[in-house]
Amino acid sequence: MKRLVMALFAGAATLSAGLTSAHADAARGREVYTKVGCYQCHGFEGQGANTGPRIGPEPIDVEALKSFLRNASATAMPPYSEKLVSDGDVADIHAFLASVKKPPAAKDIPLLNNR
């Protein structure tokens, strides 16, 4: 698994530049994230579940995210081709994930401290 992730990141590094989240639209990204069903496994806030890992609010690099989406056929996650999620969509999804509010610290949540 670790090797797979390394390979994906290496692949991402060789992809053409230009896919950045500089002009990405987080609000649209939330819509796309919901529309293409990311939330089904990762939750509406990208918080993760037993069906998929946490992917927000500090997502992996946008190129790595894109590479993973395109090449996910080796994992439990179904792959998303360019036809299903465009590069622009990926950038917007990334912007949305990056915009998710950071959670409060566990020490500030009484329910997590009085177990």
Binding site: K35, V36, G37, Y39, Q40, C41, G43, F44, E45, G46, Q47, G48, A49, N50, T51, R54, G56, P57, S73, A74, T75, A76, P78, P79, Y80, S81, K83, L84, P103, P104, A105, A106, I109, L111, L112, N114, R115
Partner: protein, 651 residues
């Protein structure tokens, strides 16, 4: 027509006979249709024929006494009640059926609805789920009383769940097998030559006894079969003529009931297993439906601690304390990969421990664990298999297979391990225990201290938040969870401390939907006499298979907090359709079709209220959740069921 008989036309006779029959069944409160026919009969211009007229018309005498009580005799179904009492059956869940009316009446008026007490269910599938949950808490079967044909047909899926989950239940169904005497019309439509053929592939035993003495013996045998590990459902077809017939007092002998000793593994095999486990560098115990009684957990703790063995609990039962340092369930893949000896206790799927299977576009499977790992199995399932349904899973070769009940075999295994342990082995076990404890504590700290915080204030409400809020409400109670929590990402098993043997009962077994609410009610019924605070984490799709279950909980006043994990979908199926859509490069935008429960949303609180249950919600804002749960807790403590509808994240 024989000579001298009064002249009654065939048409008139049949009309009168039909009207008389209708009048006989039209009782106050009876069906309007029957009453209407009776009213017609009242105004008919002809008199009912006497016996001579009837004999003259059809040429043969009519005798139906074989189905009616003989003077001075005891009703056959009273004897059946005597057997149920001898078998210590406290409850019989039913959906009423004419073919069972004899036994139903005996429970009402002979047993006075006490031992057994009837539980009214609005669907046989719900009744069977109630028996399922009840047995896993009480350790004994509930009776079920159904129509032989349509009732059994309703219950079939729930029987399969019980079969897969190795749960005992005593199913009794009615029939009218004798074509010469059975009533025409619906009772004949509901009659069958072999009514239990339908469920024979996934019940342990069935019978259709031909006499009252055979019936009481069959019931006794059925109970014995059901309660011999591996447990399972059994069915007896009790013909209406046996229920409604009679026998003089003392003529029918109720058999003595004896407990069956479960099969233990051979002592030489247990010694060999002990030798392998003690010599192992990384012994792992994987357990699924190990706990047959409350004694199991303490024995497994003792065995694991002696060996310093990691325990992976597949959560078929409350097998092992959730926060014991050797509980490595959350690290299952890692410990299995590192293992050199694996002991499987009552596993349904040993193959799945040894091998992996990837559900991808081109499925892949392969070995998950190292070559040379020694595999040991103790499994009562090896004592009893059937062919058709494949719930026994893929075949896994092992080094030492013991076809025996794991719980009954543990004392022998523990003694054998004690005898084999050297001081060096004890020291190694202590070292492993410490290492496992450190690893799992670190992981737990990350899960609670980091993972749980994400989406803490989100709406829909996160399953971590839901579990934490619930824990705050129940942690000081004598609580029990009566549903599985995998659909909440196992957060309860991460947050809550499951250490008492009755705090968890596993899942449906066959993964057939429509199990949850009924099973929770049955389990809560068994907990009621102990005064426990019972929680059901209920799936929305699952409840809608049999929402009438809510009425049964209210009617029988069974205290139970149902928390609706309302993700408004058959979520597992959403993911499946989504996955295939992407494999085919068609996308997921239409994956909601046929899989989501939206437009309209189901209002579960109103649904509950419509059946007399207090309904709270839908709770959308996480800030409202704690107060809602605390209010619900007060209702449960007052002895009533309650529903809290929580609009939740998918998992």
């Amino acid at each position: 027509m024989h000579e001298g008989a009064p002249a009654v036309s065939r048409r008139n006779f049949l009309a009168v006979a039909a009207a008389s029959g209708a009048a006989a069944v039209a009782t106050p409160g009876g069906h309007a249709e029957a009453q209407g026919v009776a009213a017609l009969a009242k105004s008919a211009p002809v008199q009912a024929p006497d016996h001579a007229q009837m004999e003259a018309e059809i040429g043969t005498p009519i005798k139906v006494a074989a189905t009616m009580a003989e003077p001075g005799g005891r009703p056959g179904s009273d004897y059946m009640v005597d057997v149920l009492r001898a078998l210590d059956i406290d409850y019989v869940a039913t959906n009423p059926a004419s073919s069972c009316r004899g036994l139903h009446e005996s429970i009402n008026n002979y047993a006075m609805n006490k031992k057994p007490e009837l539980l009214t269910a609005m669907h046989e599938e719900v009744a069977t789920a109630m028996a399922h949950g009840y047995a896993k808490v009480s350790g004994k079967p509930m009776g079920l009383l159904f129509h032989g044909t349509v009732g059994i047909q309703h219950a079939v899926m729930a029987f399969y769940n019980a079969w897969c989950d190795r749960v005992p239940m005593l199913v009794m169904s009615g029939n009218h097998v004798d074509a010469a005497h059975r009533p025409p019309g619906i009772p004949t439509t509901h009659a069958a030559q072999d009514p239990l053929a339908l469920v024979r592939d996934f019940t342990k035993w069935d019978d259709q006894p031909g006499s009252l003495q055979a019936a009481v013996e069959s019931l006794t045998r059925a109970h014995k079969v059901a309660m011999t590990p591996p447990y399972g459902p059994v069915c007896i077809s009790l013909d209406a003529h046996l229920q409604e017939g009679s026998a003089p007092a003392g003529q029918i002998r109720i058999p003595k009931v004896s407990r069956v000793s479960p099969a233990q593994a051979a002592s030489e095999d247990l010694r060999e297993a002990a030798r392998l486990l003690v010599a192992a560098q990384n012994p792992v115990i994987v357990v699924d439906r190990g706990a047959r009684t409350h004694a199991f957990q303490a024995m497994l703790v003792e065995l694991a601690e002696l060996l310093g063995a990691a325990v992976v609990d597949q959560l078929g039962r409350q097998n092992f304390p959730s926060h014991h340092p050797l509980n490595q369930t959350s690290r299952a893949r890692g410990v299995a990969t590192a293992a050199d000896v694996i002991l499987g206790l009552e596993l349904n799927d040993f193959w799945g421990i040894v091998n992996s299977y990837s559900d991808v576009a081109e499925p892949r499977q392969g070995r998950r664990i190292k070559e040379g790992v020694r595999l040991i199995s103790i499994n009562s399932r090896d004592l009893f298999l059937k062919s058709n349904y494949q719930d026994f899973q893929r075949f896994q070769e092992v080094d030492l297979a013991m076809a025996a009940d794991a719980e009954a075999s543990l004392p022998g295994l523990i003694e054998a391990v004690k005898a084999a342990l050297t001081p060096e082995a004890r020291a190694a076990a202590a070292k492993r225990t410490a290492a496992h404890g450190t690893a799992v504590a670190k992981q737990l700290e990350r899960m609670i201290g980091v993972d749980a915080t994400y989406a803490w204030d989100a709406s829909p409400i996160s399953t971590a938040r839901l579990s934490a809020e619930l824990w705050a409400v129940i942690k000081n109670e004598d609580w029990a969870l009566v549903s599985r929590d995998v659909r909440l990402s196992n957060w309860p098993h991460r947050f809550w401390t499951f250490d008492k043997p009755y705090q968890y009962i596993g899942d449906s077994g066959g993964a057939g939907q429509g199990y949850g609410m009924g099973a929770a009610i049955g389990a809560a019924l068994a907990h009621r006499e102990h005064g426990r605070f019972v929680v059901n984490l209920q799936g929305d799709g699952d409840l809608m298979y049999g929402p009438g279950a809510l009425w049964s909980a209210v009617h029988h006043r069974i205290p139970l907090m149902t928390v609706m994990h309302n993700n408004r979908a058959y979520h597992q199926e959403v993911m499946h359709v989504q996955r295939v859509g992407n494999w085919r490069d068609r996308g997921v935008e239409r994956a909601h079709i046929g899989t989501t429960i939206e437009k309209p949303h189901v209002d579960f609180a109103t649904l509950a209220r419509s059946m007399g249950m207090e309904g709270i919600g839908p709770i959308v804002d996480p800030a409202d959740l704690g107060p809602a749960l605390r209010r619900a807790a007060q209702i449960v403590k007052a002895g009533d069921p309650v529903m809290v509808d929580v609009v939740s994240q998918p998992r």
